[in-house]
Symmetry: C2
Subunit: 193 residues, 2 copies
DNA sequence: CTAGTTCTTGACTATACAGTCAAAAACAAG
DNA sequence: CTTGTTTTTGACTGTATAGTCAAGAACTAG
């Protein structure tokens, strides 16, 4: 019927995600994007509407592929406090081992744009709530086997743990050192038994 | 000897700080700056060298004037756990009450630039250490009167408290709601007696 | 007043920006 | 093969960008 699309849309989106992740929204030019995606302006605007729409899609793609991986240890059937500790141990390793210190694309996006761009703010809120739910499930397991105090409101603790992730990731931008970040995590998780 | 500068350098710097704070580094144009500062390009480049140098100076200015205010409750002679709680209560109020949700200029700058711009990274590191020291002094006071467990390493707790600030401020970008942020703080400070 | 120095002004430069468009090319249906 | 549809391409548009510069203005020392 018509000429088929030649490039792999998903691969192009992933390439755009990487560029936005490294450089931020404003600092990324459409030329940067086209070069990384291997396509020309016509194809870009035909397939992704415009820079802003592409950015939002890249952000969603990040959340689905990279962002949600952090919570993977919590997905096991009986994940409890150990799984939570694992999440933060992985987090610290991830932050320290990346030589570019890109951090979390979603958090970068939130701080760059959320105060002006409600679409970004909503994606950030969504991501926060997903993280909170993931922690909540693990906290329920932990409490049921007595691994955490009864006097804590688990929803609040879950929200706190998400914000602890933010705190560690922010701290890593200024001081990406393993011992420093581990100490923060150690104190931050001392509310769990 | 020569023609005197007509504009108030400090006022101009404060104006630049506000613009950078609201919009970020990359999203702020030199025209935005000149308009806010009330000066023409020649004056700007004569007095502040270039956009990047002006940004760094604005960031330092922020830290001296606005940024360090957060720790004011800790500066009283016998500031202890109550002062620490005060810091976070003020923080939450500040985040919620600003209709623009600008957050912390230093944290915004850190997430936007620290991974590429070492001068910004160093300012962020400096600010982190100052915050850590401020908390440390208060924690010492708190421990001496038995208001905090002996088994904690106070330097680590101080680093944690700074990262708790980052966490709350980041969380506020996505969800600037008083109850939500207060709950995070409540859990986060439950490590103190 | 004069000479020397620095500041102000606004026009200016060269480049980079996001996005458009016409023409050609690649397909499928008939 | 023809027709209709969509993609690709690269040249193109108008605007915004960071920063420069020459000319004049404001000042002080002598």
């Amino acid at each position: 019927m018509a000429r088929p699309i030649e490039f792999d849309r998903t691969k192009a989106l992933d390439a755009a995600m990487q560029v936005f992740w490294c450089q931020g929204y404003t600092a990324t030019s459409t030329q940067d994007l086209m070069q990384a995606m291997g396509i020309k302006p016509g194809s870009l605007y035909n397939a992704f509407r415009d820079k802003h729409t592409l950015y939002l899609e890249a952000l969603e793609r990040y959340q689905e592929t990279v962002g949600s991986c952090v919570f993977e240890p919590l997905m096991k059937p009986n994940a409890g406090s150990e799984a939570i500790k694992q999440v933060f141990a992985d987090l610290v390793n991830q932050e320290v081992s990346d030589p570019q210190h890109r951090g979390c694309f979603m958090l970068n996006a939130t701080l760059e744009l959320a105060s002006h761009d409600n679409a970004v703010r909503e994606l950030a809120e969504q991501a926060q709530k997903r993280g909170q739910n993931a922690f909540y499930a693990a906290l329920l397991n932990a409490q049921s086997i007595g691994a955490i105090d009864q006097h804590h409101d688990l929803e609040q603790v879950a929200a706190y743990l998400v914000s602890l992730i933010y705190g560690v990731r922010s701290a890593a931008k200024a001081r990406p050192e393993h011992t420093y970040l581990s100490q923060i995590v150690h104190v931050g998780l001392s509310i769990l038994k």
